[in-house]
């Protein structure tokens, strides 16, 4: 079957249609614009020796000083760590760890003496660290109710299903619900300085200012009731199973009580890795003359409430100073130094290769 229309195509693709209304020109060619003909102006970079080699050298030269700076900064941070899990018979907390039971009314106390060889200047931060504790387990991470923690009354009375099975006991809602809140760290750590006279001086520990500002003021809110008494507001709820005290008795300070208790907030910010540390207290610098923690003998008194032996976890207390790059972590410094040197070396190697074989790119070699 041949096409029966009388449309004729000439060289350029213009189709002339002759009809009753006179001839019209129908152009089937695509438009001759730069966009449609793929002629847009463009930048066409290629990897030449003039760009790659200086880049490698510059990166090498920048990274090495940065790495050295990071490493020196990290080395200047003073850190002291005590593992007080108590799995070893020689450890002071061995008895507490061995005799732990969930029905203990009286908390077990252990005392660990230690010694600081160097004075700690400026603010000293006291952390508790846990190991082999998977706060990043999927079921654990979603076991919380952010609406309830934000002070929503409906969520307070009816926690979300994500909190199951820690959402209610005997039809009474748990406040705060969920596995994260239920497993809150409840050891109490106190520090004493044994001055040369032999007296034990308690070191003042600040318990506020340890959580993120956005957490304390935006994310976590106490529910608001008709009166400002927290006990009344939380009427009708029960405390989580593993807690010793209900949430409205976490602290005597009303700014640090209830859901906005900073220890609670710090715990609820789940860690990414199974070995982590969380800020517990801050030791403020008292006056500019004396170091915050002078050199000498100290005592750590632990109220051992938190069981970790069942999952082979470990507990530790860390005292650390802080710098502009955070805590003590030599990794970044070493990594930068290594990468900088490898980069520089690679730059030299590429320079040699370019010098010897670079003329293979000569256009005379293109066989036509």
């Amino acid at each position: 079957m041949m096409a029966s229309s009388y449309s004729a195509k000439d060289e350029d693709g213009h189709i002339t249609v002759s009809g009753p209304g006179g001839g019209t020109l129908r152009n089937k060619k695509p438009e001759n614009t730069a966009f449609k003909q793929q002629r847009l102006p463009a930048w066409q970079p290629i990897l030449t020796a003039g760009t790659v080699l200086p880049a490698f050298f510059i990166i090498g030269l920048i990274f090495i000083p940065i790495g050295i700076g990071l490493y020196v900064t990290s080395n200047n941070i003073k850190e002291f760590e005590i593992d007080y899990t108590g799995d070893d018979t020689s450890s002071p907390c061995y008895n507490c760890a061995k005799n732990f039971s969930w029905n203990n009314t009286k908390s077990c106390t252990c005392t660990i003496p230690f010694q600081l060889d160097q004075p700690y200047e400026s603010n000293v931060f006291m952390y508790y660290g846990l190991s082999n504790f998977y706060q990043n387990h999927r079921r654990y991470v979603k076991s919380r109710d952010d609406s309830q923690l934000n002070g929503n009354i409906d969520s307070l009375k009816k926690p979300s299903k994500e909190c199951e099975p820690y959402a209610s006991i005997d039809n009474k809602p748990i406040a705060p619900c969920g596995a994260i809140a239920n497993s809150m760290f409840n050891d109490t750590l106190t520090l004493f300085y044994n001055d040369p006279n032999g007296t034990s001086v308690p070191i003042p520990l600040t318990s506020t200012g340890i959580a993120w500002w956005t957490d304390k003021h935006v994310k976590f809110r106490n529910p608001v009731g008709t009166n400002s008494n927290l006990t009344a507001v939380f009427q009708g709820t029960v405390k989580p199973v593993n807690w010793h005290r209900p949430v409205y008795e976490l602290d005597t300070d009303p700014e640090n009580n209830g859901f906005i208790n900073e220890d609670f907030i710090v715990w609820m910010r789940t860690a990414a890795l199974p070995t982590f540390r969380k800020l517990y207290r801050i030791i403020q610098k008292k006056n500019t003359m004396a170091p915050t923690l002078p050199r000498g003998n100290y005592t750590l008194v632990v109220d051992y409430n938190y069981p970790v032996r069942s999952f082979e976890g470990r507990k530790r207390m860390i005292l650390s100073t802080i710098s502009w790059m955070g805590g003590k972590n030599p990794f970044l410094g070493i990594a930068y130094i290594t990468v900088g040197s490898v980069c520089f070396f690679l730059g030299v190697v590429l320079l040699v290769i370019h010098h010897k074989y670079g003329n293979r790119n000569n256009s005379a070699n293109i066989s036509n």
């Binding site: 009388y6 793929q38 847009l40 463009a42 800020l279 972590n329 590429l350």
Partner: protein, 468 residues
């Protein structure tokens, strides 16, 4: 042509395909000394395409520079193409302008129709169509080549970005108790392929050109990698997977080591799940964007807009999702409140991002540079040449002044081959005895007399005959 060649054409069986599932028979090429051509007409081709002779035809034809089959029926055109397709494992292209070319166009891998004198039949059944035969050169050497390069870059990049994304989650599994906790935020996972990395890849696939169109026509050897399937094959895929493995190891373990047991510069937490997720996803996106920037050879304004716009979109969307307002409105959907404010102002976070980015990108740059220096491909050489030399002048066109108002017509000097076509018997039965085709020994063309034909049929049908 080839005196030392074997008597029979050699065909070997093999398995090809992704998992070597497809069985094929391939005829091997043979060496030939000299340039030859083959001309065969329809009647001879009818014999040559029979089962016992067609391999010999193919072997001979492949030893020639050019083969001309004239006076062939449409079915024979299709059969010749089919023969090459089956036994040579080659990609075939058929171009034609008339209705008799339709079967050939349909059989070939790529069918090209010319719209014009003979009507629109060829165009309607073809994959590509244009107005003049000479546009075939542009179709292949410019557009076909660009299309192949774009597809291969797209596939390689797509596999790379998704494998990297997924393998980081795999490494995290070792550290989260194999509980399938995602290392990235849920919204990031939703938006990654749809919003953050969609437009830049689209820009690269639509606009990328490695070599200008005039240079493509000037150096037809640039077409060879497409014929040899060099840019995306099993080896390229394995390279892509290994590259992703390496990138994912860097993208997980550098943030892991840098955030391990670390705190912020005011002592507060930085190693929490949300900050780690934010760090990991920012590192991933920056590395993936930079890889795209290295793969894009032709940066138009649209490409710039897509790439930088997507990066800005990522930061603005993330900042919005971590803002107070969204948290108040949809509390359970946006639990990452405050994370950007508290982690992205830390110097060690940005130092980690910078280190990850360089560790992923510098090996790629070094490898590419080394290959360009030691083993430059023809593409590299032409791209270097493009920078320094002027564009070649296009060959002058010979203008033809042929205008015609007719669409199509057909006429015939002689009877034509209707019987040949309608016999339906040839090539399906082996005819043991054949009647002689020509009753006259001299060519009729000289004597200006019509030819007498007999069909290639059984003797039983001789009686049907036909009048001249």
């Amino acid at each position: 042509m080839c005196p030392e060649a074997a008597e029979e054409p050699s065909v070997f069986k093999s398995r090809v395909g992704l998992f070597w599932l497809k069985k094929t028979e391939t005829m091997q090429d043979e060496k030939v000394d000299g340039d030859y051509g083959l001309i065969i007409n329809g009647h001879s081709l009818a014999f040559a395409l029979e089962k016992n002779l067609r391999l010999e035809l193919l072997r001979t034809a492949c030893m020639c520079q050019t083969v001309i089959c004239c006076r062939v029926t449409p079915l024979q055109k299709a059969q010749v193409v089919q023969l090459v397709k089956k036994y040579k494992q080659a990609v075939t292209l058929a171009i034609g302008d008339g209705a008799n070319d339709v079967s050939m166009i349909k059989v070939a891998h790529i069918g090209v129709g010319i719209s014009g004198q003979e009507g629109m039949q060829a165009v309607l059944s073809s994959d590509f169509s244009f107005a003049q035969f000479r546009y075939l050169q542009r179709l292949l050497l410019v557009h076909g080549r660009w299309s192949y390069i774009r597809m291969c870059k797209f596939l390689g990049y797509f596999f790379y970005k998704n494998f990297t994304f997924t393998l980081v989650q795999f490494w995290y599994a070792f550290f989260c108790g194999f509980s399938a906790q995602t290392v990235y935020e849920d919204w990031f996972i939703t938006f990654y392929n749809m919003v953050y990395t969609a437009l830049p890849v689209l820009g690269m696939c639509l606009f990328d050109q490695d070599v200008n169109d005039r240079w493509s026509l000037y150096h037809p050897q640039l077409y060879a990698p497409g014929q040899k399937n060099q840019y995306f094959n099993k080896k390229a895929f394995v390279n892509c997977v290994m590259h992703s493995c390496y990138s994912s190891l860097i993208l997980f373990f550098i943030p892991w080591a840098s955030m391990h047991d670390t705190v912020r510069d005011d002592g507060k937490e930085i190693a929490d799940y949300q900050s780690f997720a934010l760090l990991a996803q920012t590192c991933l996106l920056i590395v993936v964007y930079t890889q795209l920037c290295l793969d894009t050879y032709y940066w138009t304004a649209v490409n710039h807009f897509f790439v930088w716009g997507s990066m800005v979109a990522y930061f603005s969307i993330t900042l919005t999702m971590c803002s107070n307002g969204m948290f108040y409105m949809f509390t359970s959907s946006f639990p990452f409140i405050g994370t950007t404010r508290n982690s992205l102002n830390q110097p060690n976070v940005w130092l980690t991002i910078f280190l990850t980015f360089l560790l992923c990108i510098l090996p790629v740059v070094a490898f590419r540079f080394i290959f360009i220096q030691l083993r430059p491909t023809i593409n590299d050489k032409v791209r270097y040449k493009m920078r320094t030399e002027e564009l070649p002048v296009p060959a002058p066109r010979r203008l033809r002044r042929r205008h015609s108002t007719r669409s199509g017509y057909a006429f015939s000097h002689s009877q034509g081959y209707g019987d040949l076509v309608t016999s339906r018997k040839f090539l399906m039965k082996r005819s043991t005895k054949r009647a002689p085709l020509f009753t006259q020994t001299d060519s009729s063309i000289f004597q200006n007399q019509p030819q007498h034909y007999r069909t290639i049929a059984e003797e039983a049908e001789e009686s049907q005959g036909h009048s001249p």
